[in-house]
Structure formats: C-alpha cells, structure tokens
Point group: D3
Chain length 339, copies 6
C-alpha cells in the first residue's frame, strides 16, 4: 500500500509529492527532493524571480512515472540507451517555501532564516535538495544551512556575473542578489568558489578578489587532479577537515544562475549578457560537476516571468533538473560519494 505521505504524480515533472516534514522525520526516505523558492526580495534591478517555481511547475513535461509503495520511480525509457530513467530512485517534490501571490508583509530576513533552517534539516537526511529560485540571494541562506551541517562548503557556480563584493556584510540581511558571495566568504561559510561563464567587469571597489574565488569563462572539464596546484593548495588550507580536504571529496554546492546561458536561448532573466553558454554546453558542464564532485545541494535561480518565454524557461529548468538528478542518482554515473 502506498505510503500515505506520498502523493503520486502530484509533483513537478510528474514526480510524486510529499511534505518536507515527512522527509525530515524519516516517514519518507528520499534520494533527492525538489523545492521552489518564490522569492525576489534580494533583487536590485529587474524583479519577478518569484515566478520561477510557478513557471517550472506549470509548463514542465509531466512524465508517466510508475511508482512502488515507497515512492521508488520507474516507467520511463531513455531512447538514447534503451534503458530506464531514474529507475529505483526516490525523488519527491516538496512544494514551495512561500508562494505566489506572495505576502509583501513577510520581511526578507524572516525568509532567509526559514530557508537556512529548512536546508539544515534536509542536510541531515539522505536527500540531495534541488532548489528552484527565486533570485540568487537565496544561495546565501542555503549555503549557511549546508555549512551548519557539513561544515564550510565549496561552491561551484555558473553565472554571467561575479556576484562578489568586499564591502562588509556581516549578516544575511546585508546581501543583495549581486554580491551575496561576499557575505559567504566573510562569514566563513565557504572554503572557496569556482565561477564559470563570467563575462562582465567589476568596479575596482569590489575587489580585490580572494585567491579562493576563481572565475573562468569556459568550464574546463578537467578531472579534479588536473586542477592547478596553487589553487588546490589555497583551497585545501581553508578546508574544514581532513577526510574531505581534497576538492572532489569536499561537500560541494552547485549553484546555477540561468543568466549563464546565452540570452538567445534563455532571455527571461533580469540581467542578460550577450555571448553566453548554449544550454547543451551547460548541461555537459553540470553533468561533469555532478560526476566529479561530492554535490550536496543544487540551486537553479534567476528565471524571470516573461509571457513570451515561459515555455523556454520551463524547458530549460526541466532539462537541468533531469540532468542533475540522473547524474547524481543513477548508479552507473560513477559520481563522487562519501563512503
């Protein structure tokens, strides 16, 4: 008999839905969970990222999964392999933290605090959380929640912008979606950050960049052992412990700002920058990160409402979510896990 806490087919992508309480309490055991963060109070320029989860839910393909009583997935074939998709995995949609219409009377600090708590709770379970934003500032409370459980994390971020500043921002309340990395470094929540896809400049007042903040346009597809020594050294000296003091074993937070994609493929973002990634390039890079790092959480942020482009928005997020889930969960993907 189906676990009463599970609602088959009620989630995004046709996945089963359940409540966060059921996962945190252990009533439902999950390998991964999806959660929407309809929030854009961290935005300085064009807002509307609150609609990201709504668009993803409303227009994503609804797959015909089969489900056993504990919510284990089956039922889909991948024509590329002839084999099954996420077969044997347990993935649940936990709904949104808040919702649209939002209540403008809730202050943003309260939202950040709730998100930190929720992330820490999930980090204690077997489930890898995938958060769908919302604006990029949500990555700060998520990282704080991860660090509360895992210790300081490594961040791999795809982003057209370097969301960094050296201005003092001791509290979460001090961040914006454009400089939140500064807070994470100042608060000691992260051991380092790799940023890929960057193609904009910073005023000199934002710098200098810390050594363990590394920006590149291309994602190199290097195996971890190929990372230059000086970087590895810098990074490991700040790692929080011995057992995972090399990069591939370190708990890693993968953050995908959708503006890393070229505006012609993904226009519905607030600060589009010409010359970005193709979705296919991003999918390959994300797959490589998921395979070679010990990913403990993922976010996909900065999708904007835009009547014309909702369908592309949803398709893009859907492709990224499925690629992350399959690489992280399918047993033959050889990804880095902790023993």
């Amino acid at each position: 008999m189906m676990n009463a806490a599970i609602r088959p087919g009620a989630g995004v992508l046709g996945l089963p839905a359940t409540d966060i309480g059921a996962v945190v309490s252990g009533a439902v055991v999950a390998d991964a969970v999806i959660m929407g963060l309809p929030f854009d109070a961290g935005v300085t320029g064009v807002p509307g990222q609150r609609h990201g989860p709504e668009i993803f839910r409303g227009l994503s393909p609804s797959h015909d999964w089969s489900l056993d009583d504990s919510g284990v997935l089956g039922g889909l074939i991948d024509p590329l392999t002839g084999g099954p998709v996420l077969s044997g995995c347990r993935v649940f949609d936990l709904g949104d933290l808040g919702g649209v219409p939002i209540d403008p009377r809730v202050e943003r600090n309260a939202y950040y605090r709730a998100l930190t708590t929720l992330t820490q709770q999930l980090a204690k379970t077997s489930a890898i959380p995938l958060f769908i934003g919302g604006d990029h500032s949500v990555s700060a409370p998520i990282a704080a929640g991860l660090a509360a459980e895992h210790g300081p994390v490594h961040v791999v971020c795809f982003d057209a912008h370097c969301d960094f500043s050296t201005r003092p921002m001791p509290a979460l309340a001090d961040i914006t979606h454009g400089d939140f990395l500064g807070h994470l470094f100042q608060a000691g929540v992260v051991t380092g950050c790799e940023l890929y896809g960057v193609r904009t400049y910073l005023p000199a007042s934002c710098g200098p960049l810390p050594d363990n903040l590394r920006c590149a346009y291309e994602y190199g597809f290097a195996e971890p052992s190929k990372v230059p020594d000086d970087y590895r050294d810098h990074g490991s000296s700040r790692a929080h412990g011995g057992e995972d003091n090399c990069e591939e074993g370190r708990p890693t937070y993968l953050s995908i700002d959708l503006d890393v994609i070229d505006p012609t493929e993904f226009p519905a973002t607030g600060h589009p920058e010409a010359g970005g990634y193709r979705l296919r390039e991003l999918l390959a890079a994300v797959q490589h990160v998921c395979r070679t790092r010990r990913v403990v959480a993922v976010d996909i942020v900065e999708a904007l409402q835009d009547d014309r482009e909702n369908r592309a928005t949803s398709a893009t997020i859907s492709a990224l979510v499925m690629r992350c889930l399959r690489t992280l969960l399918e047993s033959d993907q050889g990804r880095v896990r902790t023993q």
Copy 2:
C-alpha cells in the same frame, strides 16, 4: 539670472528639474511637480513596477521649452489651437524617491513613511504633485500625507480592479497593492472613492463594499451636480469641512492605475484585464476630472518593465502627464480651484 536651484532641461519631458527642498522651502515656486516612486514592494503578483519612473524618464519626448529666470515655461505650440502649451506655468521634475537599482535592505514601511512626510510637505506649497509609480500601494501613504494637510480627501480612481478588502488593516504596513483602499477607509483618510474601469470580480469575503465606495465601468462625464443625491449625502456627511463639502470643492486625489487601459494598448502591467479603456477615452475622462474637481494630487501607477513595450509605456504616461498638467494649469481650462 536663472534661479540657481533650477536645472533647465534636466527633467523628464524636457522640463526643468529642481530639488524637493527648494520647493518645500519656497526657494522655487511651482504650480506642479513631478516625482518618481520606483517602488514595488507592495506587489503580490508580478513585480517590476520599480522601473516605471526609469522608463518614463528614459523614453519620453524631450520638448524644447523656453524658460525664464524663475522657471516659467514657454516655447511650445499646440497645432490644434495654434496657441502656446503650458505657457506661464511653473512645472518641475523633482527626481525620484529612491532609485533603481534599489537597495533591498530598505524596508517598505520606511518607504511609506518617507512618502507620507514628503507628500504632506508638498501639500503645504502651491504645487500640485504628480507621482509616477511604482505599484498602487503608494497611493495609501500619499493619501495619508494629503489628509494630514487637507483633511480626509475624496479619491477618483481609474483601475481595472477594485483594490478593496474589509479585512482589518490598521497600519500602512498591512496593505498590499490589491487592497490598500481598505486601509484608507478604515483609517478615515478618505471621504469616499469613485472607481472607474472596474471589470473583475471580488470574493465575497472582501465585501460588502461601503456605500461611499462606488464602482463603474464607464466614466459618466456627468457634471458634479448630476451625481445621485444619496451618494452626495453619504459623501458630504463625512467631508472634513464646510467650505468644500460638495464634491467639486472637496480636495480630490486622482489615482490612475494604468491597467485600466486595454492590454492591447498598454500590455506592460502586472494584471492585465481584457476589455479596457482606450488611451483616448482615459485622456478625456482624466481631463474631465481635472476640470470639474478640486484635484490636489495625481498618481499614475502600475507600469511594468517589459522590453517590448517600454516605448508605449513611456508614451502613455507622457500623454497622461501632459493632459493633467494642461487641464490643471492652463488658465482657460476653467477647472475648480479654491479661492
């Protein structure tokens, strides 16, 4: 020699700019002032109204006014009359309260309070303020500021929605852009409200509507004396004084939610409703209000950023601003003034 506080041609529409302090202190005497309110923290659904003033400023036509030393306008011909435009009038752009990029660390209550204070200061001067939103919730602090000087005001509002609710909202902090009228009635800030262009329903829980809140689709162009007696009675009993206790003499706040216009003419708004006004119809109705009521302030709100439509957005706001200014200020318009 030009008054040093005046910056010729530096304002929107090619108007002179000055600072609010100069107007409040009397250093610059104005008949009307324009101020942007880049604010959308009162929005529950689609945000982005913070960009309204920016779009209006960026794309409005820049007229070739001439200016005398005290900032009196000249230099434009209206081909329809062959005569001058706003000749002899003193109109200044005061800039924005806040700006884009906004600082997400400023709380919305602080913004509302600043706006109330500023409105009250302006209400003490000879200048009629025209506010460019921003979301519709800014009308609440503006009305509060007007009432602090004028006593409770009458509101004439063009809006596709009836932004009303009976839920208790004693403080400005309790409002949203969709129900702020409830606060104004509860706080005794208004003596009544006429809403034109309404074409949506309300859940029963929002009602019942007070007698002095009147909704209509069509603007009737009735002369004030034609208003039904029962309405007049209701209204006047709550008027704040004797000398202007009939509607035309009562201080009136004109609030224009741009979603009253049909979405085909003005799509760049958060909650478009089919079947709205043409701009031309709205211009005629607004002109009639400005002619027949004692208008003490105007707002034009709920323009949204939208790449495709910025030019239409700016043109629409420009047309409304010019129509208000000319009807309120040109001497042959026969509008209601206090002696």
Copy 3:
C-alpha cells in the same frame, strides 16, 4: 451532502464539473453547461483550433465560487453592482468532446455525428449549452442537433467572414469552416441567419445570398420589433411553428467566431481581418442578443494556439462566457424565455 456526480472547483473558471451523462439523465440539473470541442478538421487554411478549449481551461481565472449540495453557485461579488454573480445558478463544465492530443484516426464525419447526438440530448434538458471550439464547422452539427429537438433555428452569428456558399453540400461531410452556412440553409436546419461584423468580399460564384441571410458590419442594438418587415416576413414564413414565429420567440443559436474581434485585440485566429470589433463592443452586442432573443445554445469558435497570445485568448473567451452566462441566467436580465 454534495451530489456525488458533482466535482466542485474541477471545471473551467472554477466552476463545478460533472459528466454529460449526469446532465442528460437528470442526475444533475443544470441551467447552463460548458463543453469544449477540440476539433479543427474542418479548416482549409491555418489549423490549430483544436487547442481552443485547452487554452481556455489552462489560463482562465479560477473564481472562488461557493457551492451548495446540488451545485448551486454563490460566493462572488460584482463590484459594479455590489451584488452577487450567478448566485443561485447551476452551471457545470462537461469537459471536452475528444481531446488534445487528438487521435488522427477518428474521421471528421464521426465527430460531427457524435456532436449532433450530444447536442440533441442536451437540448432535451433545462441546460443551455455553451460550446468552446474548435473551428467554425462545428456549428453545423450543433445546429442540426438543435433543430432535431427545437425545429429549425434562427442563427445570430458574429463573424468577419460570410461563411456561405451556394455550392451543393447535402451532407455534413461536405462542409468546410468557411461555407458551412450553405449546408444549413440547404438542409432546412435554419430559418434565417443574421451575420454581424462582416468585412470581406465573396467571389460571385458563392452567391447570390438568400434573402434570409443578412450581413451587417455594425450590430444595431435594435429591438426585435424594429427589424424591417420584409426580413421578418421572410423569416417567419419558414419558421417551424406558430408559437414562436416572431424572431424574439424563435429558438436562436448564437455563434461567435472570434475573428470578428479586431486582430489587435485578438490576433490568435487563422484568418484575421483588419478593422474589427473591440471586445467591449462585442460584449455589449452579445449581451443584447442574449437579452432580446430566445437563445438555446451558444458557441465561441476559431481561437488558435499561439504562444504569444494564449493569455489574451483565454481572457477573451472567459469574458464572453461570463457575459453570456450572466445575461442568460441572472433573473434580473429580463431576457426572452419561453412561456
């Protein structure tokens, strides 16, 4: 206890849903029913009308109706009157005849036959059916079903085109969406037809037009008694009986081809024609028809899928459906009813 055949809130516009069998059998008593017709096999040019019901369902506003146990509606306020909306009325969504993805293996004649049968069954009940197309050719089998119960009907049609031809088309299988009226006249299913909004020409080979087919651009808002005598005569001589041989008493089929609206307000149609109605004009004309004629069925057809315009499409259909329902069902609308 709620009638088990009724599914509260499961229908379009937040209305209750039920099955056609429940209505036909009398298990559910309805004043009006809504049914989607996802069909476009009658189209010669641009197809895609099959998506009309899907768009209407997917994007229409979902009102917060209350419902008593037999499905009687309540819960909405109209701010224009302060009074309730469709209060005391029984309106159900019956779902679609067929669906998208459609099965291309079903022949169009089979579809037409099923639609005729279903219409005749509904015509025996108290419910006025509102059909959401689909292409305009569905009006032919609907008219046939109505005539099987009511005798020949009068047609009032809003359309940019005169969908008529004198070529022989004895069977439903002979029609297209552009000439189906020819079949209705040839088959004696209609007593006459008024077409409003026409703004295109016909090749001479399509004519001459019969006397009881009358085309006009403007809808005249004339009271029935104002209809010219010769037309009334023509019409009544072909009416099927004495008791309703004047136009207002004659069973009337109201057919709304959405291309009657101007393409700037409703672009998502296959054969847009410049210079059409505004939605507001159409709503007023439709309301007048519903008030002054004995309307026994309504269709709203020829909406096309179009990514950009789905929201406008749904809003337009929603407005038309609500206007028809309120005028036909609210007790104070004074519409023509039989004894």
Copy 4:
C-alpha cells in the same frame, strides 16, 4: 479580345496591371490607377518606407475579379449589400516608380522631378491616381504635379504630426518628410490644408501656423457648408478660380499618413504616437472626404518594413485603397464630381 496593354490579375489586389504609358497615351482608359513609390530619402529619423509598396503588393488579398476586354471589373460580391464591388469600374495597377532594391546612386531631386512629371501626366487623364508610399515627402512633388494641371489644390491630410515649418524652403530639394507642407504653402501650390489626427506639439520656431492650415484631432464629419465662415473665406480668397471656389468643388488632394492610426493597430511606422485613430474611424473619415470633396488624387504613406507587422500593414493599406476606390468610383456614392 483583351486590350494587349492590359495584364489581367497581374496587379495588386488581383487587379489588372498596365503601364503608365498606356494610360497617359489613352491606349487604356482608367477611372483610377494605383502606383507604388518605394522612396524614403526624405526621412530624417527611422527609414524603410521604401518597402511600403512591396509589402502592400506581397501580402494583400488577391481578389477574383472578372474582366471584360477593356479591363472593366466585375466578379466580387459585397455580403453587406448583396451587390457587386467596383462593377463597371476600370482600375489598373501601374507598378512602382523605381523599386527595391533601390539604386542609391539616384539622387532624391531626380526622383521628385520624375514624380511631379508623372503626376501631371496622369492629371490630364480621367484616372484618379492612388499613390502608395514611401515617405510623406512624396506628397510635395505630387501636389506640384497636380497644381500644374489643376491649379493650386486643397489638401486634406490625416497625420499624427503637423508636417509644417516656416523655415524657407523654396525648392523641393529643401523639404523633409516632417515639414514638406511648409514648401507647399510657400510655393503657392496649395490653397489650404486640413490636418486631422494631430497629437504632437511643435517648437515655437516652426510657427506661427498660417490661417489656412487647420489642425484638429477629430474628423468632424461636417458637411462642407458647416465649415466656419472665416476659414471658408480665407480659403476661397486664395482659390485659383471662380468655378470651384467653394471647398467641395475645389480640387482636393487626400493624403493619409498611416501614423494617424493608433500604434496598437498600425505599429509599423517610423514615429508612432499613442492615442491615435482606429482603422475603422479612419475608414469612415476617409469615406466622408471622398464623398464630399472633389478628390483628384490620394496618397497612403509612411508604412515601414517590420517583419512582425507586414501582414497588418498590407491589410490596412488594402482596406484604405478599397474604401477610396469604392467611394470615389461606385456610382451610388453621390460623391462630388466636376461636371
């Protein structure tokens, strides 16, 4: 046998085509002719008006006219009347003066001179020319050509702008598309001008406007006798002769700048102005002009290339051309003709 100079169905709207030489020589007798003017070298701002004729030709509806041997039209029914369309009339497409791709080596003065000559030649025949622009500056050489044959003409112009200036421009080479009326007044080519739809301002340096240049937003539908006396007086005192010294008898040049239409209905123009006419309003006004004045030539100008809007552009021009032709040529329209 068909007149060898006539090419049936080869013209725009399915009309017959012929060469200008055939019309000027009398080999083909015409009631009206259509000619494209792919020219935009008079534009100061957004160019591309050269594509107007191409768009009109490429996407206009191709009617199934019948033709007798001398090119007399038949074959179309108007469903609104049941009667024929342009039956018995002789209308030919003369092609374009120049073409796209244009030859940038041709100077604009040469183009203006050729157009003046061609217009004068046509003015000697029975044919009323309809010119499809092209930018508005083409109206100046056309007016010059008309005046060379008819004497100074009266101009009725629909335009969002008042294309006038008092700066000296003695030669055609001195004009732009935004001030060409100044040249016509200075050169004595026109007796007066009525401008309808104007909704922009002029710098004071452009004025003052001459008495016989009258601007209005609304087209008044006044019968000629209703024109205010002072205007009539001004006008007639400058008329070139006695037999047509009242306005209705004066040779009148009708010029339609498509930007008079609201940008939501006709966006493809270089200087859109919010708050314009609906196409239907323009059609009615144009019909009234054609009925009540002695129209000797028509132009329709300022359509811009724009991928999205070409279809609307062509449909709008087509509707205007058909309305002009039918009002000017169908015998029951009671229009003003010279005896």
Copy 5:
C-alpha cells in the same frame, strides 16, 4: 529550344519547374526533384505543417540560374570556392501534392496512398526526390513507395523525438506523426533506423526498442566502417539482399524533422525541445550522410506556420535543400552511388 515541359524560373529557389508526369514519363530527365507535401492530418498536437511548402516557396531566395534547353543548371558562383553551383545538374520543382487551402473532405488514407504511388514512380527514374512536409507521418508512405522499388530501406533520421511505438499498427491508417516508425518496422519496410538529435523520453509502454533502431544525440561523423560491429551485424542480417548489404551501399532514406534544430534557431515547430542542434551542425551532419550513404530520397518535415518566423523557416529549409542537392549531385563530392 527549351523543352516545352520545362518552365524556367517558375520553381522554388528560382529553379525550373515541371510536372511530375514529365519526369515519370522521361520527357524531362532529372537528377533531383523537389515536391511539397502540404499535409498535417497525421498530427496529434499542434497542427499547421500544411503550410510548410507554402512558406518555403514564398520566402526562399530566388537565385538567378541560367538554363540550357534540357534544363541543365548554371549561372551561380559560390564565393567559398570561386566555382559554380550545381552546374550541369538537372533539378526541378514538381509543385505540391495537394495545396493550401486544403480540401478537408479528402481523407488522410487517400493522401498516403497517392504519396506511396508517386514515390514509387519517382524511384524508377534517375531523380532523387526531396520532399518538403508537412508532418512527419508522410515519411511512412514515402518509405513504403521507396521499398516497393528498392526493397526495404535504411532510414537516417534527424529528430528531437523517437517517433516509435510497439503498439500494433499494421496499416498506414494506423500511424500518427509521433509513432510512424513503429509501422515501418512492423511492415518490414525498413532494415533499420538511426535517429540523431533525440532528447526526450518515452513511456515504458512504447518499448522495448528494436536492436536496429539506434538513437543518439550527437551525429558521430564516423565513416561507415566505424559503425560498431554489433549494429552492423544486426542491420545486415535483415538487409534485403547481397549487393548492398553493407550500410553504405544500402538504399538510404534521409528524413529531417526540423525540430532537431534548437528552438532558438527554429522555433516554428509543434513540439520544440530545448537543447537542440545549431543549423550549422545539422548542415554538416546532413552533408556527411549524403556523402557516405546511398541516399535515395530526402524529406524535410514539421515546419509550422508562424507569422513571426516564416522567414527563418524558409531560410532554414532553403539551406538544407541546397546542401543536400550540392552534396548529392555535384561530381566532386565523392558520395556513395550505385554503379
């Protein structure tokens, strides 16, 4: 003297046109022919593919070919080589099978049968047919016609979807555009199929996939000898004969579903899938197929009408047609031919 059956310049791309009868009878000898298939009755979702040929014809570039009396091409230079384009080749446009407006009274089985017959007739000539769809279901009757002449064919297909199902579909009448490959396998019409560009999942009920149906995202550009042995074995064991039992010699049908291209480059298709090919990648892959396989027919299908995108649609089809023609026909392309 020009062969009377040839109409110079009357075809798409400025190519000569002729009738299918002339090619089948041998009156005109062709190396390749182009034929439009305006058909979309096999579509379950978004229709409109009937407009594909119309769009291709209406907006493709019209090259200035020279022609000798038997229709041999010349006259174009390729700047990349300095050399001629298709010089010495005989390519004709045969027009469409059916046309728009289509006649909805023609059943789809009749269309499929006519297409099978026509394909078989062409397969007996020297001409390689290029079909322009239309929906993808047309590939089934084409394959049947090819197999009737050549024996079972190999299919190389570019497609975002795997149009396959194991449900029984013995007759052509049983297919849809989304599963037609199932019929081809069941009917023994094909020896195997390679699908490139696939990026969607299938429900388990559609499988398992046969061994000789191979899906990949990337086109490998492998020489035939590089194909893995197991696939080659599987394939050849089902080949119909000895002389072409290796893949490169086997008659191959190249089918290009335009949705293989990324929606940002080719949005005008019914089921766009994010993350597709660039046109340039597709051109290179198609060229490789044409060079290394014995291609006996080509189709390009699933272009949809879409006002905004017609120009891109036509340009894309034009580029694919020219690449196929040049690779298949120009003598220095070293492609696989039968001796």
Copy 6:
C-alpha cells in the same frame, strides 16, 4: 588638472569624450578612438543603419572608469584575471560624423568625402580608430583614407555576404553597400581581402573573383605563417613596401559586418542569413585577428534599428568594441605592431 578638451564619462561605455580636432591637433593623445557613422544612404534593401551609433550609445553599459588628468583609464577589474581592464590606455569617444535625425539634403558623396578626409587625419595620429556604422559602404571611404596615409591596405572582413562585383565603379559614388569591395580592388586601395563567414551565392555576372579576394566560412585561427604560399605570394607581390610585405606586418583594416552573426543572436540587420557565427566565435576570431595582424582601423557595421532588439544590438557591439580595444591596447596581448 584634467585636460580641458577631455569630458570624463561623457562617451559611450562610460569612456571619456573629446573632439576630433583635439586628437588630430595632438591636444589629446589617444591610443584608440571611437566614432559613430549614422549613415545608410548606401543601402539598396532594408535601411535604418543610421541608428546604429545611437543604439550603441543609448544602451551600452556605462562602466565606472577612473581617469587621470590626461585621460588615462583605470578603475575596472576583469574577474577572469583578477587584473585591471584597459588600465593605462587612452581611449576617447569622438561622437558621430553627422547624426540622427539626419539631414536628407546632404548628398552621400559629400559624406563619403568627409569620411575619407577624417580617416586620413586620424591615420596620421597614434590612435587606432573604431568606426561604428552605419551601412557597409562606409568601409570604402575609410579604406581610401587609410590608403592615403598607409598605402594600400589588407582587409580582413567578417560578413555573411561577399560584397563584391566586377562591374566598373571608378568613383566612390558608384558603390552600394553590397558591392563596395569591387571599387576598392579597382581603385587599388587594397592589396587583398579575406572574407570570413560567407554563406550566400553570387550571380555569375559578379565574377570571377580576383585571386586576392579569399572567402571562407570558418575563420581558421591559423598563424600567418600557415597561410598557403600561393595566397601569400599573390598578396605580397602587390604589397606597397618591403618592411611589411608579409601579411602580419601589412597595415590591415578589420571590417565586421554584424550579419556574420547568426540571426538568432543578432536579428537586427537588413539581410539576415541563417547558419551564422555565434557571438563567442566571432569574438575569438576578432581577437585572433587583432593579435596576429597589424590592425590600423576597425569598423562594426550594418546594425539596424529594431525596437525589440536594440538591447541585444548594443550588447553585441559593446562586446566587440571591448574585445578589440583590449586585444589591441593591453600590453600583454602580444599583438603585431610596427617596428
């Protein structure tokens, strides 16, 4: 104290502005200058290129440069390197030659002559000019001006079209934007031309192409020494002197027609051709040219006004300008310089 001729922050991209006279006279010393050419009188098809500079100026990012008294730049960090951007370089915006609204009374020959003179003056200074068009015909007078100072130049051109013809065009007045290279070859102004990105055909009448005009689709990234000998030979024999008679030393004019980019990334051009470059590919190729050739001038041409795409247009031009400036001016780029 800041050089009085320098206006900090007044130029495009936040750069300092100065006047051309100041640069030519030596009052301001520059390493590079930017100049707009709002000109489209060389266009045969879709015009509007006059708006290119306006769009680039209006919507480009305004960087926060610091400036020393002689205009030396600082203040920006590149996150990719952590290092400064254009630090120590002197780059000025010189404004436009002409402006929008343009004066249609200025003949195009006068414009070409002024541009030739201005280019020659700049070529005598230390500044590398970057011209922002405008249509591609401006490259001819620029090349003439360069050659007047440097002797015949080598041209590296990115373009979807081969703008060449062999028809005689002895004078600048004979060119169009589609064949201006013919004039440059005939006039002996260039020693050769490499064209990259070409993907269209030419009529045979345009040929044969000269040996030293080489077209390719792909940019090869070959080091100069890898250029095939026969080309090198051809080229060098026509080089104007000994010291730079190999390609890398030859003065090279880099001309970028924006239509080389794929229309999905850069649609706002007059003659889009499917299958073009990605911006990223173009940036890499342009960078390679700037590094390996002795570039003496750059142009970026053929951007068209298009309301929807202005932002993409500006972003694309901005990226190209910054890439050229950094590669040409930053000291560690190892680019080819003279002596």
